[in-house]
């Protein structure tokens, strides 16, 4: 089905492979820059992943401007300001972000301030408002979940005012994304599981929410197939290069899909739960995904049914009668969650995540005000939210 009107934009060059990093100097040269600032966090430094990045510069004439390795787990305004200063002091001309969502968001925030030559990031909050092309940004993801290497959004928290500001602009899109297996081989099993479920949710929501379109559908479809075929393997055998590369590709494609088609109610509930109870974003996605699909079923049975093919494969798809496919999709997702619970104790319910029942009204209130609800095919009011949250509790 083709919508009356839609937009799709993904200009990011993607390099994928076991040693894809080795092309960094060439890509920098193509971008016309000579002195990148590397932004990363302590965990990545500790895991020894930076050595692969540094080694990629050997035998080239490109200098690394500096390395900032202290990005907190929630991208913050203060960190952005600190990094901008380092960028200017060392006269860097481009950015390489090595990390997960918060590192990448921080790098995007830094890029806004440098480009606009300003010291007040909040002035630029908003959607599609930035006008100037930014410094070249190369992103090297170290998890396979957020898909931030191909999204046009950054979320930065302002600790002083206790708010989170969102920035979306096509100029925020990185120029190059490098999917190098070596960067995720050491990712612990439970994080692999949680981030994998985040990517799966991105793909499923992109495929079922109101701005679905043929181009993002294609991305989402393949992402779902790769995740269902490889997530369990990567969780069981972290060093499996094939599975790791598949998941990196899947989260990247899911990112491109939802960056254009947006996400829905799983994210509304997830953002609210994360905001109040501070659980991992991927864990929240995994908890709510089947309940939200059930909730949305009345409106989008057809789309959910179609997903049985990439999710379960040809055999199960053709064996299941048309009227039963949507239910089977939910069953498959529940089976996947059960298996991940067995392997890594990934919570399947709010209770298993250690959230107290008293928090439900507060979560519901926050969830119905969340922006991503706008794109969900079925609306949700306070009572609806309470019902879904209670189901997801037990």
């Amino acid at each position: 089905m083709i919508p009356k009107y839609y937009e799709f934009f993904n200009p990011v060059k993607i390099l994928s492979g076991h040693k894809a990093l080795d092309n960094i100097p060439y890509e920098l040269e193509q971008l016309g820059v000579k002195k990148p600032l590397i932004i990363t966090d302590k965990g990545i430094k500790k895991a020894g992943l930076l050595k692969y990045v540094k080694r990629a510069f050997a035998e080239s004439n490109t200098i690394i401007g500096s390395i900032y390795d202290d990005v907190p787990s929630d991208s913050s305004l203060e960190t952005v300001y600190k990094i901008v200063k380092i960028f200017k002091d060392n006269s860097c001309d481009s950015i390489i972000a090595v990390g997960g969502g918060s590192v990448i968001d921080t790098a995007k925030g830094v890029n806004i301030l440098i480009t606009e030559d300003s010291n007040d990031l909040m002035k630029f909050a908003g959607a599609e408002i930035l006008k100037n092309p930014m410094k070249p940004l190369i992103v090297i993801p170290t998890t396979s979940g957020t898909g931030s290497e191909v999204t046009l959004v950054a979320v930065i928290s302002d600790e002083k005012n206790n708010t989170k500001m969102a920035f979306t602009s096509l100029h925020l899109l990185p120029r190059v994304a490098i999917l190098d297996t070596r960067m995720t081989l050491t990712l612990p099993a439970h994080i692999t599981a949680a981030t994998g479920m985040d990517a799966l949710t991105h793909a499923i929501e992109a495929y079922t929410c109101i701005q679905k379109n043929p181009i993002s559908d294609a991305h989402a479809w393949m992402a779902i197939k790769l995740i269902s075929e490889n997530l369990i393997t990567a969780v069981k055998k972290g060093k499996d290069k094939k599975a790791r590369l598949a998941l990196l590709n899947a989260s990247c494609m899911a990112g491109a899909a939802f960056s254009n088609s947006m996400v829905g109610m799983v994210h509304s509930l997830g953002h609210a739960t994360g905001g109040i109870c501070h659980i991992h974003h991927g864990v929240a996605m995994s908890i709510f995904l089947p309940y939200v699909l059930e909730y949305n079923l009345i409106k989008i049975r057809e789309y959910i049914s179609e997903l049985l093919f990439p999710l379960a494969g040809n055999e199960i798809y053709s064996k299941t009668s048309e009227g039963q496919r949507a239910e089977k999709v939910i069953e498959c997702i529940n089976n996947l969650r059960d298996e991940l619970y067995k392997l890594t104790k990934l919570p399947r319910t709010l209770k298993e995540a250690g959230i107290s029942k008293e928090k439900i009204p507060e979560i519901a209130k926050l969830a119905i005000g969340d922006g991503s609800l706008t794109f969900n095919p079925v609306d949700m009011d306070y009572e609806d939210a309470i019902k879904v949250l209670n189901k997801a509790y037990k």
């Binding site: 919508p3 009107y5 839609y6 937009e7 909050a125 908003g126 959607a127 599609e128 408002i129 708010t163 500001m165 969102a166 979306t168 109101i210 701005q211 947006m262 005000g369 969340d370 922006g371 706008t374 794109f375 609306d379 009011d381």
Partner: protein, 180 residues
């Protein structure tokens, strides 16, 4: 073949009908917004959290009309026409072109659809913009008859028929003409 053909510049044309329609509707929506921010419980609830003096601008890009709403001491949104300075607005909602403003202001597409289709750009907090656009949809359901507003009412709180009729009557014969 003709000799010396002159290649002239082509100036952009006009879409006067749509420009004037949008201007008129902006006035109705602005005054309607002001009145309903005192009358409708959903709008009251939604704008409750905005700080006093909070200013919203709607503008049609690149050179179209604009309209300001400002939250006053009494807690409702005052219609300020196009009298304020663009720089003073806390939240700006831009329609990328006149066609999209026309579709939205004539209730042919809802705000969530306009967002999803990238027809709008926002300066300021995106969550606040969503809230204002939702209120705008509610205002439209009062102003327009059901048959026109059917595209936008789908995801809105159900307002009882009688209440809507009373609201509609008051908006048209009291709120809009007198700027109450």
């Amino acid at each position: 073949m003709r000799k010396n053909r002159i290649y002239k510049e082509i100036k952009p044309g006009r879409k006067l009908f749509k420009v004037i329609t949008v201007k008129v509707i902006l006035f109705f929506l602005g005054r309607g917004f002001q009145f309903l921010s005192k009358f409708d419980k959903n709008i009251k609830n939604d704008i409750h959290g905005l700080p006093e003096g909070f200013t919203v601008m709607f503008k049609i890009l690149p050179i179209g009309s604009k309209m300001f709403l400002k939250k006053n001491k009494k807690g409702y949104l005052k219609y300020k026409g196009s009298s304020l300075n663009e720089k003073t607005s806390d939240l700006s909602i831009f329609f990328k072109n006149i066609e999209c403003a026309f579709l939205m202001f004539t209730a042919q597409i809802s705000s969530h659809q306009a967002f999803a289709e990238h027809r709008i750009s926002i300066k300021g907090e995106i969550s606040k913009a969503m809230l204002i656009m939702r209120c705008l949809n509610i205002v439209e359901t009062y102003l327009f008859p059901k048959i026109i507003a059917k595209h936008i009412t789908k995801r809105l709180p159900r307002i009882s028929g009688i209440k809507k009729q009373i609201g509609r009557f008051l908006v048209y014969f009291w709120g809009i003409p007198f700027g109450i």
